[in-house]
Symmetry: C2
Subunit: 319 residues, 2 copies
């Protein structure tokens, strides 16, 4: 690779002169300028943009941390982020973590080393204090309710939404209600767990650990969920499923076993993806793409903001 | 941001000395070394990795061009690429193009300017000659059959697969066969079109332009497809659908209109995603994740290779 020193040699000028020509600096004689331009042409030299970024202190790269890129929830957040990235001439550096802490730390490290300007964390494994330690290096945005912290956040009220879902099912006569989530340890799932515990206490229902089913991510997991609840001594009569794909998978698995929905099993999905509308699944609509767009905008702004998005309940045929 | 010049000033040494300390170069006195290390600590300076990359000529960033990140076909390719990226300590820079040429050119430009080391193009809008012009800047991998070209490729034989699907439907008695694709202009779709034309000629069937339905990408597009074929004067009796999500959407739309599958409409899907298995949809299995992994490996290798992946036909209940 030709460097600036080689160009100077070829053109018979100083390194400073080459640098001036490259950066359109005035005070370079026509003669020298032409010599440098010829050297650039002859050598097929391209200004190394890393060097330009270095001088500007900006990379126009934004990191995006997400556990899975092939999961509709995260794919839609990413779509929103990518949409704004396009408009703002930013590129995205993807960290598909599979919830590995080491992978998240790599993203934080890239921020520390100025390889990216900012970071959007769609879902995290690291402790929030680890993330806060990196705020000195650039903006970090989280997709969870962390009001008051020194990081920008975009979120929905998972506690309230879950309470609404539980109360709706209770009004419809359900007393054995289970729920399906991605993982138990996330902030959002801890809010759901709290809502569930409070609900169970309020109506003096039995708290059945079995009713909380995790690792529910994809359509095909619906089969596994149905198998699992059919194996329980006290089968739940209703399920809140935090992902429409899984809800659709459960509905499909029920159809092939002639289990009647909602009569034998009521289902509430989440996100209101197109599959929910087409399969007539009751669901909560989450504006995921807009949330992604908002996270991008928060990440390019130095100001710390918190934005709650509202959720809409869509009544259909599965309850 | 503190730079190397600031550090030199703070430590009372030359810029060269600071650079030597940062790069663990020998021949620096203990005294000067300690002064520099103290300045680094005091200023909260972090070695700018862009500068390190600059000196090494490597970024460990790989560009990935894909039209949509929320589409299962591309999400699975991306999953495979990301899996290998993780193992090889590469980060991915995402270019979600929506098939805009300008966006693809940006990716090629980043390769040219050494901001990324290599580029995987999952689907392109640019002419192949534009892409070939950029091969001098780093490896580029395409996901289409381009044997003989100077770029590495990973692909399946879309022509042969389409012929097999058409012949299978013909043997089952179908004479009015339509098909659904993402877009008409892609290399893969041109191969399918060729297979279709040859098939129609071979059996002296009518070539019906209406039977080629494009813009079929998501589950919800199934509804649109069904509406469209129901509006035709000569409704096709079978559809080849190049995406299981759309196939599942058509099956679901048929169910809600009491259209019997395969009696009134036969369907062959593509990719053999889990939704195809659960909804008992006949499909062709494409090893998308493996293909993604292979593209990553081709992109980190200087050697130009071509790898064809084989496709497996999965007979189920929709034909």
């Amino acid at each position: 690779m030709t460097n600036i020193r080689d160009l100077a040699k070829m053109a018979g000028v100083s390194v400073t002169t080459v640098s001036r020509v490259i950066n359109n600096h005035p005070y370079v004689s026509e003669e020298k300028k032409n010599a440098v331009l010829k050297a650039i042409q002859d050598s097929n030299y391209h200004k190394n943009i890393n060097a330009v970024h270095l001088s500007r202190g900006k990379t126009l790269l934004m990191g995006v941390v997400l556990p899975y890129s092939d999961h509709p929830y995260f794919a839609l957040l990413l779509k929103g982020i990518a949409k704004q990235a396009l408009e703002h001439n930013y590129k995205l550096v993807l960290f598909q973590t599979d919830y590995m802490k080491s992978r998240e730390l790599e993203a934080l490290d890239m921020l520390k080393h100025k390889q990216i300007d900012s970071l959007v964390i769609c879902s995290r494994s690291c402790h929030v204090s680890t993330i806060e330690d990196h705020l000195q290096y650039g903006p970090i945005v989280l997709c969870e309710n962390m009001k008051g912290k020194e990081l920008s956040t975009t979120f929905i009220n998972h506690y309230k939404t879950f309470v609404n879902a539980l109360e709706y099912l209770y009004q419809k006569g359900h007393r054995n209600i289970g729920y399906c989530i991605g993982r138990k340890t996330g902030t959002n799932s801890r809010q759901r767990e709290l809502a569930y515990s409070n609900f169970v206490n309020k109506y003096q229902l039995e708290y059945n650990q079995e009713y909380i089913i995790d690792q529910c991510l994809y359509f095909e997991d619906g089969e596994k969920v149905l198998k699992r609840i059919l194996g329980m001594t006290n089968t739940p009569s209703a399920l809140i499923v935090t992902n429409d794909q899984v809800a659709a998978g459960i509905v499909t698995a029920c159809q092939s076993l002639d289990i009647s929905i909602p009569k034998q099993l009521a289902i509430i999905g989440f996100d209101n993806q197109p599959i929910a509308r087409m399969m007539n699944i009751t669901s909560f609509e989450l504006p995921l793409e807009e949330m992604g767009e908002n996270m991008f905008l928060q990440a390019v702004n130095a100001e710390v903001t918190h934005k709650e998005f509202s959720v809409q309940f869509i009544e259909r045929g599965t309850v």
